[in-house]
């Protein structure tokens, strides 16, 4: 029922989809920038359940006197194989320290030096100590600090456990969001002047991932369907150290604290992959502190040489922490020990940890400018959902948490400033598109008996397709085949069986909608990977093994075409002060 003076069921100035680090930070920024503006968060889980909670190792920001903003920028740009937009990187490194200090002022329990200053640790690809940490539960503490702080702002309205299914757009502008109240099944279209997408990544597109079940690319798909392009979707980060079977992340901090990667012969194999020479103490930008893309590629090299270990859960190498000793493990990386004891029934104090590369992060996402703005007026994105791009072809560990804060804050402030001067949402568009979407969702919920396959079966086939074609190494044949398979799976998903017709907490309906998001994202990943005929960072083409700056020092943009398939174009990279060079680690 439309309230007096509003266009739809409810109306807010800025509506944020997603309640993780980027979404919460954006909400606070809206409240601070325009205290009279109304702001709401629509999130499919309670905000403190968001996947930010799983981040472990830390958050990078220049703090030490020995460090400089330029060095953080250079590490980030070289780590990203020169695909980062350097103006965005410069803003990022400049604003990251202030953001982490604000988190401190809000209560984040950062680990400390004996004199009371915030402590920093080394991290992969970083040549200075600049990674702030809260033991090895940094994301957990950061998220709970943000969530609890957000409770202070009475003006931040929350739609907890609501699932956004569609953006209302008209005339190149956003007017609202349709969402399902998961608890009751109520479908509502919330009119708004601006939307910020902050739904995180899409690791669930792959079979083996550190990402939580909720990471299904919803925000990316919402934007893509509304006409905003997805950028650099071919760049998928494999983290080198996941636990077999579960895919649970063993943080890079384990290597920063001195852990070694060894093969079946006990040999520190990274020395064979141009990553430096082994030293007892960790050396910055060398060996185990190299970047994630190179370390994951080295694993594949070891597999080809027959130097990995065969287990029921696939090939593994080992992470050796035994020499660190129990006291250091307990003090610095207690969660690593807890996870190993619970899920592998091993103790890293005395045992080797079996690890293998695991899908961890999307460098790509919704194409945005430096304030999170997209080509759709009033539509913003921040965090892993977005590609601004500071991560280029490979993100450095500990850059993603500050990215959520810096660009969440920027998007929040920009959306607030936009919303207070923007025209009211178009009530006609909100009503008619909202009604269309309601009919679609009610049809889905009415059930589908005819389908022979379950949602879970189609989902599993999609995941295997992505791993086969868009894994650590890619080639044209496999990608071509994946394009055809995904087109087939899209048709099968549309008729897959839905048994649950309940209104309340219908998670099967959600799984079907999430599969739709994932298929959109999967098609963009595969098409973008096919188009980029070079190897750069996390995108390695065996048929085009070299980086090709002449043709591909550019972002891939994927627009959704009229037939639903991606249309690709290239956008030049912004270079400010660091011309493309060689990525050098360990020498």
């Amino acid at each position: 029922m439309a309230a007096e003076g509003t266009a739809g069921d409810a109306a807010v100035d800025v509506l944020i989809v997603g309640g993780g680090a980027a979404g919460l930070r954006a909400a606070i920024a809206v409240a601070e920038t325009e205290p009279d503006a109304t702001v709401a968060i629509v999130s499919k889980v309670y905000p403190m359940r968001s996947h930010t909670v799983s981040a472990e190792g830390g958050a990078a920001a220049v703090i030490g006197l020995a460090d400089s903003l330029d060095e953080h920028a250079y590490d980030t740009i070289s780590g990203g194989d020169w695909l980062c937009d350097q103006d965005a990187v410069e803003a990022f490194v400049r604003e990251a320290p202030r953001e982490l200090i604000r988190l401190e002022h809000w209560g984040c329990p950062w680990s400390r030096e004996p004199d009371g200053r915030v402590a920093v640790r080394p991290f992969g690809g970083m040549k200075q100590l600049r990674t702030w940490y809260a033991a090895d539960k940094t994301g957990f503490h950061l998220l709970h600090t943000l969530f609890q702080t957000s409770l202070k702002y009475a003006g931040i309205k929350r739609y907890d456990e609501w699932y956004a299914t569609r953006l209302v757009t008209d005339g190149g502008r956003v007017h609202g969001v349709t969402a399902i109240d998961i608890r009751t099944g109520r479908i509502e279209t919330i009119a708004c002047r601006a939307v910020i997408l902050a739904t995180g990544g899409c690791g669930q597109v792959f079979p083996f991932t550190t990402n939580a079940a909720i990471k299904t690319g919803d925000g990316m798909a919402l934007a893509y369907r509304a006409g905003a392009p997805l950028k650099d979707m071919e760049f998928v980060q494999y983290h080198p150290t996941g636990l077999p079977f579960t895919g649970i992340l063993i943080t890079e901090a384990a290597r920063a604290e001195g852990g070694w990667l060894i093969n079946k012969d006990g040999y520190r194999y990274l020395q064979d992959y141009d990553l430096g020479v082994p030293t007892d103490k960790p050396k910055l930008r060398s060996m185990e502190l190299g970047p994630r893309d190179r370390l994951s590629q080295a694993f594949v090299g070891e597999m080809a040489r027959g130097r990995t270990v065969d287990t029921p859960y696939g090939q593994v190498t080992y992470l050796d922490l035994r020499h660190l000793g129990e006291a250091r493990i307990n003090a610095r990386i207690p969660f690593v020990r807890e996870l190993c004891l619970s899920y592998e029934k091993i103790d890293p104090v005395t045992d080797l940890i079996p690890v293998r590369p695991v899908v961890h992060y999307m460098m790509g996402g919704v194409h945005t400018g430096i304030d999170g703005d997209t080509p759709v007026q009033g539509l913003y994105a921040a965090g892993e959902t977005a590609c601004v791009s500071i991560n280029g072809a490979n993100r450095l560990g500990s850059n993603s948490l500050p990215e959520c804060l810096v660009f969440g804050a920027r998007a929040g402030a920009a959306a607030a400033r936009y919303a207070v001067q923007a025209e009211r949402p178009d009530g006609g568009a909100v009503r008619s598109q909202g009604a269309d979407e309601r009919r679609r969702l009610e049809r889905e919920r009415a059930g589908r008996d005819g389908g022979r396959e379950r949602i879970s079966e189609v989902r599993e086939l999609m995941r295997r397709t992505l791993e086969d074609a868009a894994g650590i190494y890619r080639n044209r044949d496999a990608l071509d085949k994946a394009v055809a398979t995904l087109a087939d799976l899209r048709e099968r998903a549309a008729v897959a069986r839905l048994d649950d017709r309940s209104a309340a907490f219908n998670t099967e309906l959600l799984a079907g909608l999430e599969l739709g998001s994932m298929l959109d994202v999967a098609e963009a990943i595969v098409a973008s990977a096919l188009n980029r005929e070079e190897s750069r960072g996390a995108h390695q083409r065996t048929d085009f093994p070299a980086r090709d700056d002449a043709a591909f020092l550019a972002h891939t943009l994927a627009h959704r075409g009229p037939d639903g398939t991606p249309r690709l174009s290239l956008l030049p990279v912004t270079i400010t002060r660091w011309p493309p060079g060689e990525r050098v680690y360990g020498r």
């Binding site: 889980v45 359940r49 401190e104 209560g107 030096e113 009371g116 200053r117 702080t149 649970i248």
Partner: protein, 236 residues
């Protein structure tokens, strides 16, 4: 292995009923893996919450053979016979294994779970030594999984009781050297710490080794001293 799962669909079932599912007895499966097997391969209508499956998001708390557990960290091998899975006790059931935790969120807001400071924010961090961090650290480890509420005999009878996690989080800020707040009114009220009868079930149930029972007992002492010496500030 047999899973006996509590089913409840509002508007359809008058009250919860049990449904049995046969699941492979895999040594590497958590209870959550078995539930997901049911959902994906056997019965798509079963509803439950889960996300990170690494014991940190706090979504998948359920009652397993009568005890509140995180189902992602409780394994089939921990049990011999049939495993009974029910929603967490002490909360209204929304559907199947999903409970309504909104009352907790309301209680959490009541204790002002944020850092309270006066004056301008400085450009640099507030100093805090490792010892000062240690003083509140364990209370900051709460993942809001609600197992302690489910285990608490007081909360089950009196939903107005602030409850273990909300009080532990209030103490998390009270004991933080950077905090200048005062949460006395809400904590010392009838539904605050005095509601607790010191059974200690909350601490036993906590999967993250937080000790809410200790938080509550410590604050009872603080509150008692405050009522004797009403003008004593918490910190000199």
């Amino acid at each position: 292995m047999i899973l006996r799962v509590s089913r409840y669909r509002p508007g359809v079932d008058a009250e919860p009923v049990f449904q049995e599912y046969e699941v492979p007895d895999r040594a590497d499966w958590a209870i959550l893996d078995a539930l997901n097997h049911v959902k994906d391969a056997v019965d798509g209508t079963l509803s439950f919450r889960w996300s990170c499956r690494m014991g940190i998001c706090g979504s998948c708390g359920m009652n397993v053979n009568g005890e509140p557990k995180l189902t992602c960290g409780t394994f089939l091998t921990d049990y011999t016979g049939p495993v009974t899975v029910e929603p967490l006790r002490g909360f209204p059931v929304i559907r199947d294994l999903v409970v309504d935790i909104d009352p907790f969120l309301a209680n959490l807001s009541k204790v002002s779970p944020w850092l309270i400071r006066e004056g301008e924010e400085p450009d640099s961090e507030y100093a805090q030594t490792p010892e000062q961090l240690e003083a509140y650290k364990q209370y900051s480890m709460c993942i809001n999984c609600m197992l302690c509420y489910s285990a608490c005999p007081v909360y089950v009878l009196d939903p107005d009781f602030l409850g273990p996690a909300a009080i532990a989080l209030a103490q998390r800020y009270n004991l933080d050297s950077r905090d200048m707040g005062d949460r006395f009114d809400v904590l010392s009220a009838e539904e605050g710490v005095w509601g607790c009868t010191f059974v200690g079930e909350c601490t036993s149930a906590c999967p993250k080794h937080v000790d809410p029972a200790e938080a509550i007992q410590r604050y009872k002492l603080t509150a008692a001293l405050r009522s004797v010496l009403p003008f004593t500030r918490r910190r000199p």
